[in-house]
């Protein structure tokens, strides 16, 4: 069919315009493409919110940063993080909503371990990659193909670093008897497993092994019991509130063991800002720290300090950033949003994140590792392994208030 010259030029102009915009569009016109939606839930209110909000802030900083560099696969990322109010039930239903209603392209990991463990099953059901802290070892033994701990927060590895350091002490200097009080939930039980292995390895007798439910009404009974039994090592496998109650009870009863291990309370800024000197000299473990010698950690930590006016970069800000960064590496490596391709890439390659170089086994876990920390002058310092240490450990524990 013959067309007029005018019509031909018009069609030529339109075709050329389409060709130019499709190849140069993202650079010439900015990130105008459909954003990649990343969905998830976090405890932004409720009992776990003190930590949850820091994970969210880490997520948002990652998103802001990647968008400023051109996005993921050339597309901007958009976060859709629901508040699960620290409820596992809500974490499950809201994640499912993000997948089925909001049709997100990628998933962001939840917190704490109980929520993450539950969400791993949802991610597996919908065959979507799920990068998170995980829900401790049990959650990774379910044969899931799409879940990765990057880095994982593994209770079973929690005290690996501390006990490795303690193994360097002369046998005569080590504590002889340990007393433990553990919060009776998934996290506490997992951390307790780490303790059993370490005590056995060092030949330290466990004279007290109490469990308690939250909220902890009083730490006085088991602290008094530990003191009566002559335990010179106390292991408080606790969160913040119950950890504080335990520390205060120990001080009030004049019980000052040679060494105190604490679960996860020491990782949040409030441990130092609220507890003051009583929070010093307490040992714990971590999979992430702002002073680790990994590329990008320092910059992300400084950003957290600057943005939120805190003296020390919160660990969970770094965790949040690391989890999405690991997901980013998988997407970039796969070159697509295909979930199987992303999972396959993560399983077969080394990825670089602010949490270090990570590889994953068939369970979705890196090889076991954990760094020992001790709170010194209000700051959690790395004390083991020596390659990353930022301070020398103080042992035995000085008197309270000292």
């Amino acid at each position: 069919m013959l067309v007029s010259r005018r019509q031909f030029l018009k069609q030529l102009g339109i075709s050329t315009g389409l060709l130019i915009s499709s190849t140069l569009g993202p650079r010439v016109f900015g990130l105008q493409q459909t954003p990649i939606k990343i969905g998830g839930t976090l405890p932004l209110t409720g009992v776990f919110s003190a930590t949850g909000i820091w994970v969210e802030r880490g997520y948002r900083y990652w998103a802001q940063e990647i968008n400023s560099r051109g996005g993921l696969l050339g597309r901007p990322v958009e976060l859709l993080i629901y508040d699960d109010a620290s409820s596992v039930d809500k974490a499950i239903s809201l994640l499912e909503r993000a997948i089925t209603v909001d049709k997100v392209n990628l998933l962001a990991g939840g917190y704490p371990g109980t929520a993450a463990a539950a969400q791993m099953a949802i991610a597996e059901k919908y065959k979507m990659v799920y990068v998170s802290m995980g829900g401790h070892m049990k959650s990774f033994l379910q044969g899931f193909k799409y879940s990765f701990g990057a880095p994982p927060l593994m209770g079973e590895w929690w005290y690996l670093g501390v006990f490795d350091w303690m193994a360097t002490l002369l046998p005569g200097d080590r504590p002889r008897k340990a007393a433990a009080a553990t919060v009776n939930n998934l996290v506490g039980i997992a951390v307790r497993d780490s303790m059993y292995e370490g005590l056995k390895r060092l030949g330290i007798q466990l004279v007290m092994d109490e469990l308690y439910d939250l909220p902890l009404p009083s730490a006085d009974p088991f602290v008094a019991k530990a003191k009566a039994l002559g335990a010179d090592m106390f292991i408080s496998n606790s969160f913040f509130d119950d950890g504080v109650l335990t520390i205060r009870s120990m001080r009030a009863q004049g019980y000052n063991p040679k060494i105190i291990l604490q679960g996860v309370g020491t990782l949040i800024p409030e441990w130092a800002t609220q507890l003051g000197k009583d929070g010093d000299y307490i040992f714990s473990g971590t999979a992430m720290h702002h002073k680790l010698p990994f590329p990008g950690v320092k910059e992300v930590g400084e950003a957290a300090k600057r943005l939120y006016n805190v003296p020390v970069p919160p660990q969970y800000f770094l965790f949040g950033y690391a989890w999405l960064q690991a997901l980013q590496r998988g997407v970039e490596g796969a070159g697509s949003l295909d979930q199987d391709a992303i999972a396959n890439y993560l399983r077969t390659h080394v990825i670089e994140t602010i949490a270090g170089r990570l590889t994953f086994d068939e369970k979705g876990l890196p090889p076991p590792y954990n760094f020992a920390i001790q709170v010194l002058k209000g700051e959690p310092e790395l004390i083991w392994p020596p390659a990353v240490a930022t301070a020398s450990p103080v042992y035995p524990k000085p008197p309270w208030g000292g």
Binding site: T45, V47, E210, P221, D241, A252, Q274, D278
Partner: protein, 288 residues
């Protein structure tokens, strides 16, 4: 022996604080037939009211209480005059409706506090925090001692008000026989408003007493509410003495159970005891 005495004393000191938490809740339930779920969140609000002046201006919580008590009395009156009275006119089942209303109010207040002050935990760090008195090898943590004294003084004050003042007798009359009290010339509206004021003021004191011992955050009210219900139901609704006895019993069971059973079973023991009590005395220990 020292171990036994230490845990027993600690249990008694702690139990009195639980009793104080329960007294005001029991008062409103007994007098106004309202299940005031906001009781615990008001206690948390009082903890923040003590925290900020201490943090910003180094004011001791006991000094701040002089302002908290009248302020929270007023808040209690406003709670009654506002949402509760509106509800009273609209529902035939005040007990159930008030449960729902105050539940919603409690969550609203929780979220308001989380928004204003962040959901992170706070601690009242006073000059006496972490210090103890020591007597014959038994330690008396000062924060628990002060919390105990505060609780005892407040409970005694409420008792004296109820049993030795004209207004207090009117409150008791309404609790015992609402219609009879009205027929006797008691102004139901004023008496109920004052009851709310006294109850929420006591929640304010309880909040400070609890904050001396525990870390707190906006969401903690649900955990405190468990102990409130335990103490009130065990002691008998409306019974001050019952709340006191139940509080002490709770503190003792929690602490002493570690001598005989794993500590993780202390709640099981406590609530099993409550169930058994309710089979034997459904009205609680001391409610007549």
């Amino acid at each position: 022996m020292n171990f036994f005495l230490q845990v027993m004393i600690s249990g008694l000191l702690l139990g009195t604080t639980y009793a104080l938490l329960g007294v005001g809740f029991s008062l409103i339930w007994g007098v106004a037939r309202v299940l005031n779920i906001t009781h615990a969140i008001f206690a948390v609000l009082a903890a923040y009211a003590a925290y900020w002046p201490m943090k910003l201006y180094n004011l001791d919580p006991f000094l701040i209480l002089l302002g908290i008590i009248p302020l929270f009395f007023l808040l209690g009156v406003l709670l009654y005059e506002g949402p509760i009275r509106l509800l009273e006119r609209r529902t035939p089942n005040l007990e159930l409706s008030s449960l729902v209303l105050t539940f919603g109010l409690a969550y609203a207040l929780e979220n308001m506090m989380a928004y204003l002050w962040s959901p992170g935990p706070r601690l009242l760090n006073t000059p006496y925090t972490g210090h103890s008195l020591s007597l014959l090898g038994i330690y008396f943590p000062l924060t628990q001692v002060y919390s105990f004294l505060l609780s005892v003084v407040t409970i005694v004050a409420i008792y004296l008000f109820l049993y030795h003042t004209h207004l207090g007798k009117a409150v008791r009359a309404v609790w015992q026989d609402r219609d009879g009290a009205v027929l006797s010339g008691v102004n139901l509206h004023s008496v109920t408003a004052i009851t709310y004021g006294v109850a929420i003021a006591s929640a304010g004191v309880a909040g400070v007493a609890m904050a001396l011992i525990y870390a707190f955050n906006p969401a903690i009210h649900l955990g405190w509410l468990i102990y409130i219900f335990l103490v009130v139901i065990m002691g008998g609704v409306g019974s001050m003495l019952g709340a006191g006895v139940a509080g002490l019993f709770t503190g003792l069971v929690i602490n002493l159970s570690v001598l005989f059973i794993p500590f993780a079973w202390s709640n099981l023991l406590l609530f099993s005891g409550l169930l058994l009590l309710l089979f034997i005395r459904p009205r609680g220990l001391l409610q007549r």
